[in-house]
Symmetry: C3
Subunit: 256 residues, 3 copies
């Protein structure tokens, strides 16, 4: 999906979950495909933003339960959950923002995927649940992402009852960045993607990495780290270009 | 309060604060009674969920101030606050979810008790405050639970001004899980309790312990811990039963 | 701004950002002035509360970009960000609450200043943004305060898109304590300030320091610390006075 800017072409990348029969389950194959796509895309210097969306009425139903019976070995189960965790961690480590575009139901690891993206835009018909407890499999890994996105009482009620929350509730509690009518979902997501694509990639990349690094630190350590980041950012070619363009009241021209 | 399920009887336990004359103050005697009840109930293998409620218009007014004058020794004061902290920590450590059912005013350590439960359901006439500062006793221990339940600016305004917030505001900011009209309070609380009582106790217990353990960890450590928890959960008898029942489109039959 | 209480005079201090031509930019000179004012005021034993407000339609536009070009040395840039971080850390360390009174736009380090205050009251026409990314300078230091005030998806969308949020959204997500119509802004802020000014300074001071100290700790450590704080607080002259006044149904008379 190339986006036009300043006469040059920049790219966003749309990764689409597409396994309608399995309600876009995050099977080991799907997780590996997602991981490989994300790693591959991150190497492209033109890439500015990644959008993860899905085909059909279910964004993702979470793990493929058929892979979790005792017909598979514990080693296989370990591989499933490790790969899933790697994908979630990878999203934070990528040098570009990752946007979840959700139009429908996101449950269990599907809800975790939404919570793990940097930005999440959803249609107002979407809903979110961590229903593992209903089938004897508590959503402990989804709870990692959910517990860091919403207040703990919201997370615990979702985890203990398995009941869904609406898109509006998800927005209210911090799980989503934006909720729009279904017919505006793509437009609004692309608007945000285009905005990010118009920015300097080295600056966005430095900012994203620093944000997640400082968040768990104590305040003094966090300011020590980020003050240095600001000095480094000012010294970047795009830092100087941006500041000077602003002072000169012109549009900046980014190095990348 | 026995709940019927699959022809077997499961139990929820209702612990009721009942000291109307003292507005359900958390006196040392009340705290010890609460602690002993919680410890006792946790030993019952049939127990699925605990509900803490109160008689009268005040859920709890917090510590019994008569126990905090200098007519009592510093050792006594220490005992009061230590026991209170032990009760709050115990709620998180219990193997079953604890629901606060609030119908009225919850202040100081009473507000802390609500904030410390896993789930909190309140009637819309309820309100919440940490007014210790008005009487020269800053709500520092309530601030521990409150500061982890709501955004810090909400917590600080409550702590510095002592002014109450409404049930709706408490819901909005994450202190409550649900707000309902007074006449539906018991019904809604029981609905959630029954839902939890229909689940596998070992699974809920593993999930609760893991959630609180991973929450303060850094993301990588949290995923390392919870991935292993998922593998262990899949290997549980109830994990396999739940997954297979789901695949076979039948109701699961839990071991406990 | 002296406030009357019990026949004695207590003081709140109003620090006003006043550099209309630079839209109240936090230049190094402005930051040093703010730092010096805060340090100076904190020495006054009569002081009860500090209010930070601003003249003109912009609360603060953040750093002075002219100080961040390569016409200044990296050492100068370092000094700017270090001083800014020192001011934000100082606000938390002050022995009295600091209230931001916002009437207009607060961007970048200006938004960080609002997020760093203990309490923030804003008029409903105010808005908040971290737009540094637009000029190639990611708001990494503002992200420290913002990321601890609002859910991370809210913070990340603000940081990645640079787009403003309204006062109502800021309230909803925890960046503000109160939103009122413009004509009530001063009245509401003064109401809160007077309330705080009517309290015991040693008690408020102990409570504020303890709150920020316990917040990043694990639950057990936090309760260990705050239980001791409660015992110390009870033993304070104002602790005993407040408790006894409450029991005797009279107004307390604080030592300070």
């Amino acid at each position: 999906m190339p986006l036009e800017k300043h006469g040059k072409t920049w790219s966003s990348r749309n990764i689409v979950l597409s396994d309608l029969k399995k309600r876009n389950a995050l099977s080991l194959a799907m997780l590996r495909s997602l991981q490989s796509d994300l790693l591959h895309e991150a190497e492209s210097k033109d890439l500015r933003v990644i959008i993860i969306s899905a085909e059909g009425p279910v964004f993702s139903s979470g793990h493929d339960l058929k892979e979790l019976t005792d017909e598979r070995s514990p080693d296989y189960h370990t591989k499933v959950f490790q790969t899933c965790s790697e994908v979630m961690l990878l999203i934070q480590k990528l040098p570009v923002p990752v946007i979840a575009m959700v139009n429908g139901l996101a449950t269990a690891a599907g809800c975790q995927l939404v919570a793990s993206c940097d930005i999440a835009v959803a249609s107002d018909k979407s809903s979110f649940a961590t229903p593992g407890v209903n089938i004897g499999l508590f959503c402990s890994t989804p709870g990692v992402a959910l517990g860091r996105a919403v207040p703990r009482k919201v997370a615990l009620e979702m985890l203990f009852t398995g009941e869904p929350i609406s898109a509006q509730e998800a927005l209210l509690h911090g799980l989503l960045s934006k909720v729009v009518p279904e017919e505006q979902l793509e437009e609004e997501t692309m608007r945000i993607a285009k905005k990010i694509a118009s920015l300097s990639r080295p600056v966005v990349s430095l900012g994203k990495a620093t944000f997640y690094r400082q968040l768990p630190q104590d305040l003094q350590t966090a300011y020590h780290l980020t003050s240095q980041t600001m000095v480094d950012n000012v010294a970047l070619k795009d830092g100087q270009e941006g500041i000077k363009a602003f002072i000169q009241k012109r549009k900046p021209i980014w190095s990348q």
